[in-house]
Symmetry: D2
């Protein structure tokens, strides 16, 4: 079976594996205080054009989301996000497990707007019973979103303005950040995004690394004692240099962006093939996740050779499904798929 | 500098690196449902002679401890452990962060006894005010302990009996399990330990793996929905097969025990050298951690060439320090150290 | 100002004050183990025709909801309730603070249906990614609901059946239970409700007591060690006999039901007056809370003499407001209000 | 049986009952925003000579401790207290349930010293592994302590200095504050104590009220949004005026101090009687709790007529027990007890 069901089917980019092998028997201190982590932090700050930022490495996405959100919120505060946000639907209540409500707003194409956020905040503070209601304390978005869409620079700027107007950090989940930044539809750069977000992360797990997320914190108050939070939440990897080596490799010679771009190209080819076949899409995604709506018959045929994710039933005969590409997607597999789509 | 300050200075055993390379571009499903995890589970159950056990793979120790303990306890229960227990002193309050008190008992050489545990349990239930006091709900020990000592088979049998008498799970933190089981002083086997513990883990991070802990659960009630707990606590690795490949390698051809034995041999050589020099020890450890008591002058001399951990000040002139060996310790480094000890 | 804005404007029913005075200098043991609590428990069990039930007294509603829900759920579980449910909107995230997600379903007139609940449960367990999603572990409803409506016997029977089919407790928040049970529209008795709910509470704070909620638990598993939960959540009143005296008085000579009926009668008079004036209502409430939709002009006039709660803006000119009656509402105040409504 | 086993055996001081009766049918707004709470706040601030303090009313001690501590600490912080501190031993892990470790120091006579506290703080911050250890974030003491002793003005001044040196709030649990301040051994006044503590509470439950604790917060940062915390922790009493009326009465005409003094006088009489009989004491308590060490025979005889608390077994034949007096203790009962002590 050829697998398109998610973007973490393979191991790590060969350049990473090579560096892990080369450094394998070196001795370093633990917990992210080694020279590789140090260099990786510098490389990331340079790529972000943010010399004063702080960079921390964690292992996975749920861990990163809970650590950042717990660090940012007071006990009576919650985090605003889209209904479809990962923290609201796909982390087994990890945020609530830290004691905080997810304040879900109805998203459009997986995105929430500055207007929505401002209304939610104002509604809270203007309520005579505000003390009886969870106070919004942070705004969480993902870039790209769960369904592959991306915010424009203007949308991000507006969200950032609202957050700062109400002294609330803006947190950008970048589990698939590379696929967003290298999308042909993207009009924002990494340094620009870094300026707008108070905290965000650069996803490694889905973009070339074995595992790992690099959290960039621009807000000194949030950064204070952040390593205590990481340790307490179980995110401080003993052999931290594994994260350092991986991110240093990804941020050497623009590798992170190059491999992201590859995934998007592969995704566009698949999109065009489904489109040419007359398929509609659940959403117009310009990144590595594509959501064509397939008939039962199409699904049956493709299932013989490919793994993909059923996403949402449209009606009895049609289902929106997800095909993912990644840094590791082989063009020959995509071409095979395209042939099979044509033959549907 | 030659590093003896901990047992996670290097990457992974070459056999693991080789398998990770070989399997790197294979496609597998995520979250530990892949064939490598499946095979690793079978290999571990076989090594434990426990066909009905359940095996789960997590990334690190603190994560594993919080996940197991949160899964086992009711809100008003706490976990009994030695004062020196890792969960009591070295996890930034991760257990309390899950809502549970650590009920610390004064340990002797890092160990607690069945008598102590029974007294603590009885004291609780016989107290007229029991409802005002945290109820013991689990017993946590580590094997080896934080200071390298190991429980005898009899001691473990007694602890297990007390736990079962009071219907309380016995949890063995095996972050360094291999170093315990292959110690010349150890009188218990892996299958025997598996029979006595309701849940324990086989540490990978400190014993040959890049990272990873294999949790073995013998208690069906505790195993129910355990994967929900793993996901909620951020421990469900997307590319779960990385854990599968590593543990499968460690449990092929007895590799786990072989490399553990090597570490112990290296530790014994260091012990003898310090002993021959007339040094006393903080504790008589038969495993990979050695705690010689050094004079300030000795420390100063050794610090020029070696990293080790200061552990506990004995008086103004003497300090107990820790030298760790591991699966990766090179005999030539040990021999160099021994020469330098002799020359002190 | 005459106050109709909530149902806790006054102290306690005079019969309760009398008993508190009479017993004031008696000496009793603490924490609810005194004879008054014992007698109150018996009186409640008798009224419920549930000799095997367990009764616990707590101080307030939020405290009761968090204690019951934390006791019932495992860490990865959440509680199903209506979007408008008190625990979802008006307790400052107290449930999330215990670590659990509130799984809100869109309610109709403040109620959820057995079909909705079953669908939510089935959707969860049939999801291939169930482990990544909060598992439903309890169903919470209120009787009457936040907006005064009540479930029919059939609706409750259906909800109870679904819950038991999926081995999930049904929890009925009865902060205003008396006002529900004595509503002219109510077709269920206290013993019948008690048979359908696994746990529910009889609200005192809003129905004649100074404060206090009597939790009735029919499920032995949930009752186990429940007093530890009460203590841990801060709900174990030192002078517990205050709760015993109050509930014993309320459950002597049918006082609880009599005073509840009074509140409903007063509410019906208010409803009729608004109705006669041509006002529409946000919801057709048969209990002590009435939600007429008033014009801005009407609101302005009534605000000169009465306190009531603005509830929900309907449009620029109209707002749904809440008028509450209670056991303490004086008929002369209601009559004055009715005259003023007529004069609008 | 005459009860001396605790200081909450009776209801409330008659002056309080009288005011509750007089105000019973008045209508007020809820949640502590009524005129009685407002006046009580003013009376307390005046008594404390702290016009800028903030005063909040909660129902009970455990609730107050969890609310204050959760409000003060960040997730990775713990609260320093004496081993014997109420939050460490007698609240069913309520503090841990909020996610925080209690950092217990060995107390002497129930007290901890500024030196101890400073050492604990310095040890933490000077530890190279500080991030792996719970960070001290607050100091909790009780006045009087669990065993009736009181801090001197100098001791409190020193503790306060250390706390402020390390920017950590000092929290004084005053569940029995009146009994401390009116002890013949006390050398500090309420305004002086108020200046030294960042937050403390004036216990009502044990000193004349039916229930209730008045929290005084001197630290604006801690006071910010404190009412959200109260609501979330279930401590916001719907009929808040019950607390207002009670504390207003207690702080009118010095009632709080007068009734406290009475309890101490009664306690001193009991102490003298035991002392005259040749009994030793577990601790030299100058307040309303006395801890004579009795022989089994003495205990047997006294148990026929009196309730008291066994506290701590001294040896096979002797046990330290607790006799409590309170605002409600009748001198005739004390005299009867004294006669019976003489007759032992």
């Amino acid at each position: 079976m050829i697998q398109f069901q998610c973007d973490y089917n393979e191991g790590a980019h060969p350049a990473i594996m090579k560096r892990l092998m080369e450094t394998n028997m070196e001795q370093t201190v633990g917990y992210g205080m080694d020279p590789y982590c140090e260099q990786a932090r510098e490389a990331i700050k340079k790529a972000c054009e943010a010399p004063n930022a702080n960079v921390h490495f964690l292992v996975g996405g749920t861990q990163t989301n809970t650590t950042v959100i717990q660090a940012a919120l007071k006990a009576y505060q919650g985090v605003i996000c889209a209904h479809t946000g990962h923290i609201n639907v796909h982390e087994t209540g990890a945020i609530e497990n830290t004691g905080h409500k997810v304040l879900a707003l109805p998203g459009k194409d997986g995105k929430i707007t500055a207007e929505q956020v401002e209304k939610a905040i104002k509604d809270h503070f203007e309520d005579g019973d505000a003390e009886h209601i969870v106070q919004p304390g942070m705004v969480y978005i993902s870039f790209p979103t769960e369904i592959g869409t991306i915010y424009t620079k203007q949308e991000l700027t507006d969200l950032s303005s609202v957050c700062h107007k109400y002294e609330m950090p803006l947190f950008v989940d970048g589990a698939r950040l590379g696929y967003g930044l290298t999308s042909p539809s993207c009009d924002i750069t990494l340094p620009e995004l870094c300026k707008l977000a108070d905290v965000f992360y650069i996803g490694g797990t889905k973009v070339g690394a074995m595992f790992g997320e690099a959290v960039v914190i621009n807000c000194p108050k949030l950064n204070k004692d952040f390593r205590y939070h990481i340790k307490q939440r179980g995110g401080m990897l003993a052999k931290g240099r594994l994260l350092g080596v991986q991110f240093l490799t990804l941020f050497t010679d623009n590798l992170y962006m190059q491999i992201s771009e590859h995934a998007n190209k592969m995704a566009m080819k698949i999109r065009e093939a489904f489109s040419a076949k007359g398929c509609e899409f659940l959403v117009d995604s310009p990144t590595n996740q594509q959501f064509p709506i397939l008939s039962n018959e199409m699904m049956q045929k493709l299932s013989k050779k490919y793994l993909y994710s059923p996403w949402q039933k449209v009606d009895e005969n049609y289902t929106a499904v997800r095909f993912c590409t990644s840094w590791a997607t082989k063009e020959e597999n995509v071409d095979a798929l395209i042939e099979d789509i044509k033959a549907l």
